[in-house]
C-alpha cells in the first residue's frame, strides 16, 4: 500500500477560527476548565480505600426468587449453613424442592415435612462423612417470605430440629440500629 503525504488538518491547515475563539475564550471566560491532578488523585485514593473497607470477599447471600424478607434490628452476622427457603408455595433446600406449603396451610396443624426432613438428614450425614470426629453444629438458615403463615414456619422449624438442626436462624434484612436508653 503506497504511503501518501498527509493532507490538510483541522485547526492547523483548516482555520476553524470560531472554534478556537470559543475554546480559548478571547475576552470571555474559556470553556475549558483546569483540574488539579493532586486533588483528583487524593479523591480517587479515598474512594478506593472506602470501597476496599466495605468489600466483602464472601459475596452476597443469594435470595430465592419470590422471597420477600422481613426487616429486624437486633440481628447477628450471617453464617454459612444449609439454606431452607420458603416462598408462597414451595419449600427449597439450597435450591432443591423439598415440599409444598399449601398442604400445611390447608391442614392448619403442625406437621413434619417428610421431603424436607429427608433432605436435611442427608445433608447432616454428608457433613459427618466430610468431617469425621467433629461435632455437628446443627445450624440451618431459614429464608422465609414475610407473608408465610406461622403454621408453616413452626412446621419447618420443628422438622429441621427433628432432622438434627436444632440451631435455627431466621434470615432478615438489617435495620439500622437505634439507641435505647
Amino acid at each position: 500500500m503506497p504511503i501518501h503525504e498527509p493532507g490538510r488538518r483541522l485547526m492547523h491547515n483548516v482555520g476553524l477560527k470560531f472554534v478556537e475563539k470559543k475554546v480559548t475564550g478571547h475576552g470571555n471566560r474559556p470553556t475549558n476548565a483546569g483540574l488539579s491532578l493532586t486533588s483528583m488523585i487524593d479523591f480517587l485514593i479515598v474512594v478506593v480505600v472506602f470501597l476496599l473497607m466495605t468489600f466483602s470477599a464472601s459475596g452476597e447471600t443469594p435470595i430465592t426468587k419470590g422471597v420477600n424478607l422481613p426487616k429486624a434490628e437486633n440481628t447477628l452476622d450471617m453464617i454459612d449453613a444449609p439454606m431452607v427457603s420458603i416462598t408462597g408455595s414451595q419449600i427449597l433446600v439450597d435450591g432443591s424442592a423439598a415440599g409444598n406449603t399449601r398442604a400445611i396451610e390447608d391442614s392448619k396443624r403442625l406437621q413434619r415435612v417428610d421431603e424436607l426432613f429427608n433432605l436435611l438428614k442427608a445433608k447432616r450425614e454428608q457433613w459427618k462423612q466430610l468431617h469425621p470426629g467433629k461435632d455437628f453444629p446443627g445450624v440451618v438458615v431459614l429464608q422465609i417470605d414475610q407473608d408465610v403463615q406461622a403454621v408453616v414456619v413452626k412446621s419447618v422449624f420443628q422438622t429441621a430440629a427433628f432432622a438434627g438442626f436444632p440451631n435455627v436462624s431466621f434470615m432478615v434484612n438489617s435495620l439500622p440500629k437505634t439507641k435505647h436508653e
Partner: protein, 192 residues
C-alpha cells in the same frame, strides 16, 4: 509528570539519579479500574439473622442417674390476641408472674417490605429481664429462655417483629478476650 524523590539525588557526574518518575496516566487508569471493580462487586444489601433454638433434649442415658435440677424460669410471650401481648414467667409448670402489654403494631412499608415493630413490648421485656432474668453475668454461658406462643395464621413478619423485640434486651457475654453485648434471651417456639 509527577516525580518520587527517594533521596540521595544529585550524585556526582555520570551516576544514575535515584529520583524516579511515576507515570500519572497508568496510575490514574489503575485507580479507575480498581474503583470500577469494587463498585461492581460491592454488596449493598446487608443480610443478617435472628437466632432461635429448638431446645432438643439429648438422648436419655439410663445408666446415669438423673440429678434433680430445679427448673429455670422461662418467659412465655403470648401473641395470640390482637389486643395485647401477655408475658408470663413460668418455673416448670408454675406461673410466677403475668404482665399484659397493650399491642401497638408500629407498621410501615419500605418498598415491598412490611416492617413491623413493637417498641412497647421490647421495652417491657427488657424491664422484665432486668428484674427476673437469671443469667446476667458475662461469664455465665447459659441464657434465659423465651418461648413464643402464636396462632397458626399469624404472618411471619409479625413473628419476626416479636422476636426482634425479645432480642432488644442485651447482656454482656465473654467471648474469649472481651465481653460483647449479646441478646439476653434464647427464643424458641411453643408447639401448641
Amino acid at each position: 509528570m509527577a516525580g518520587v524523590d527517594v533521596g540521595g539525588g544529585g550524585g556526582k557526574g555520570g551516576r544514575k539519579s535515584l529520583d524516579s518518575e511515576v507515570n500519572m496516566i497508568p496510575f490514574i487508569d489503575l485507580l479507575m479500574v480498581t474503583i470500577a471493580f469494587l463498585l461492581i462487586t460491592a454488596v449493598w444489601s446487608t443480610m443478617s439473622r435472628l437466632n432461635a433454638d429448638a431446645q432438643v433434649p439429648g438422648p436419655p442415658r439410663p445408666d446415669v442417674e438423673q440429678e434433680k435440677v430445679e427448673p429455670e424460669k422461662q418467659l412465655h410471650v403470648e401473641m395470640r390476641s390482637t389486643e395485647k401481648f401477655v408475658l408470663i414467667w413460668k418455673q416448670g409448670g408454675t406461673v410466677v408472674s403475668t404482665v399484659d402489654v397493650p399491642r401497638k403494631d408500629d407498621t410501615r412499608s419500605e418498598g415491598s417490605t412490611r416492617v413491623i415493630r413493637y417498641p412497647d413490648l421490647a421495652a417491657k421485656i427488657e424491664a422484665e429481664w432486668k428484674t427476673v432474668g437469671q443469667h446476667r453475668d458475662a461469664s455465665d454461658k447459659k441464657f434465659d429462655q423465651a418461648v413464643l406462643h402464636t396462632d397458626n395464621e399469624t404472618p411471619y413478619s409479625n413473628i419476626i417483629g416479636v422476636i426482634d423485640a425479645v432480642y432488644q434486651a442485651k447482656r454482656p457475654y465473654n467471648t474469649g478476650k472481651k465481653a460483647e453485648n449479646v441478646p439476653a434471651f434464647n427464643v424458641t417456639f411453643s408447639v401448641n
